[in-house]
Symmetry: C2
Subunit: 328 residues, 2 copies
């Protein structure tokens, strides 16, 4: 099998999309859009968060598992420009996790729910040898304003929020057992406690400033591939413009490459969006303290290019997170 | 830990229900009810379907896993009187299940989707050492007509659809390795291919005939306990009235007890509902070919009683399916 993409393609073949009343956008985007009335579209999405895939029981404190599970799902709402409303929780636990671990997990989950404005409205619980979490989130967006992956046109400018690779740096420190060192502790935060760009997404959708949008949950190269494939276009990134997360020199010396983290590191949950050129003046340098950086542009050729300062460009391939290939 | 109930209570403590606009009914029922407009309420629910818990990879053909996973979730919609519309699928698979197994699973899932009228609108895929399925279903119901677990009053009559214990009989045959015997094969169907009582639930909700309703997914004793606890009441069942699934004499001789199957066997997905006495004439003996049987009544004392033909009664305890106690 050829990774997640092939799996999804087979699911879509087995269960083909149909045009039905009330369905604005179905499988294949960050979330589905339903239209129960004329004023508001409901946005719904689900995300798995699994032991051994999305987190390691021995490495990740349970509070951060609860927080990150809901953050991951909520970021899909941010990527549509939606306002979070409700969520459902599927939770399966081994016997050893139903005590203190569960309480701490729920504490982190509740903190995320409060921060993102989500209300738990249902769920299912069961047992399993490894922790299984699946979260469904529901949000709303003014009718017709949901921002999709498709929609980018050649010439549109490509923007990203925040800094890229910060979450992957935190994960790398945990993997290398460097997480407990005091001077590195703040570098763990983007991985353990990522902010979700809800206000930014809502603003872009409300003001109709973006032609397409996705969140960088799987890494820039992979998520940008999703965005350009959905639009039937390509993109050229400028290496010098990428807002790389700062990596201390001693970590660079250990072989941690800021560019690699920025391009292929997952879980930044930043927003990657395209803006028609005429709207460029409407995009500030930052929105509510979050930097917005123009990192390239959309091109008609269906490929991803990474340009350097000498004007040369190399082909960029999707090398981010894939649950069927990557390690947690 | 004290089983699923305790787990849910802790989740509710960590994430308390809040009154928010648009939320008609949240956690604690078969499904949550949202109200995006004045004509229709949306009904949403999620259910896990896990290898080793809800099915055994060596025993259950993959088609039946796909069918049953969606049936289980859809039965929650039936139990609210809702019309199925959309669903989302979380699916995590081990490497050995992404080939032919997946195709067959999807075939069964697609058959269920067609049968129940559900359209897939999203999902998430990942890997895991054992198959993990979590399904979120969305349905709609005329505003205010969703049938809840709460609402039964003393004196209300207790009805159940279909026959009880038929699914548990099929599972027991598989467990004992008797499933391949030709003369038993039709007895497997209620377990492998259960019907879901959508039309009955919709009819009861539309006509306002039931005061409370739940589906018998976990077994009569357990689901009736949920219903009476939600209503702050109790119930007295009459043993002679229970519509027991027929068990061939040779299987009874092997120790398979029809009454035990009917009371504690799960996955029948029949509807268990209460009817105010004055509405009794409106309940036919069957609805669209499905028998409707009055099996007892609601009593003010908060207990479950099982009466015999001599007029005696014994206390009945919840002994049905609990994912933290039962085996698949």
């Amino acid at each position: 099998m050829d990774g997640e993409k092939d799996l999804i393609a087979r699911i879509r073949r087995a269960l083909p999309a149909r045009r039905v009343p009330g369905l604005v956008l179905g499988i294949g985007d960050d979330a589905a859009v339903l239209r129960p009335n004329r004023a508001v579209d409901w946005v719904i999405s689900c995300d798995a968060f699994l032991e051994g895939v999305h987190f390691l029981a021995a490495t990740h404190p349970p509070e951060t598992v609860g927080y990150r599970a809901l953050a991951r799902a909520s970021s899909d709402l941010a990527a549509m420009g939606a306002y979070p409303r409700f969520f459902l929780l599927t939770l399966a636990l081994p016997p050893g996790r139903v005590g203190r671990w569960l309480d701490r997990f729920l504490h982190g989950l509740a903190r995320a729910a409060k921060r993102f404005g989500l209300v738990l409205v249902g769920g299912d619980t069961s047992r399993q040898p490894r922790v299984v979490i699946s979260i469904t989130v529901l949000g709303e967006v003014p009718a017709g304003r949901a921002l999709r992956r498709a929609g980018a046109r050649p010439g549109d400018l490509l923007y990203v929020s925040g800094r890229l690779g910060a979450a992957a740096l935190g994960l790398e420190l945990l993997r290398r057992g460097l997480g407990r060192r005091r001077r590195f502790r703040r570098l763990l935060r983007p991985h353990l406690d990522p902010p979700i760009r809800l206000a930014l997404g809502q603003w872009l959708a409300r003001r109709r400033l973006a032609s397409a949008m996705i969140d960088t949950s799987d890494g820039l190269s992979t998520d940008l591939t999703h965005l350009v494939e959905a639009g039937g276009v390509g993109a050229r990134l400028e290496r010098s413009r990428l807002p790389l997360a700062a990596v201390p020199r001693e970590l660079v010396a250990l072989g941690i490459d800021p560019l690699e983290l920025a391009i292929n590191g997952g879980e930044d949950y930043e927003l990657l969006f395209t803006v028609p050129r005429r709207l460029r003046p409407a995009i500030p340098r930052s929105y509510r303290g979050v930097p917005l950086t123009c990192i390239g542009e959309i091109i008609p050729e269906k490929k991803l290019l990474l340009g350097d300062s000498a004007g040369r460009a190399r082909i960029l391939r999707a090398g981010g997170w894939d649950p069927f290939r990557s390690r947690p």
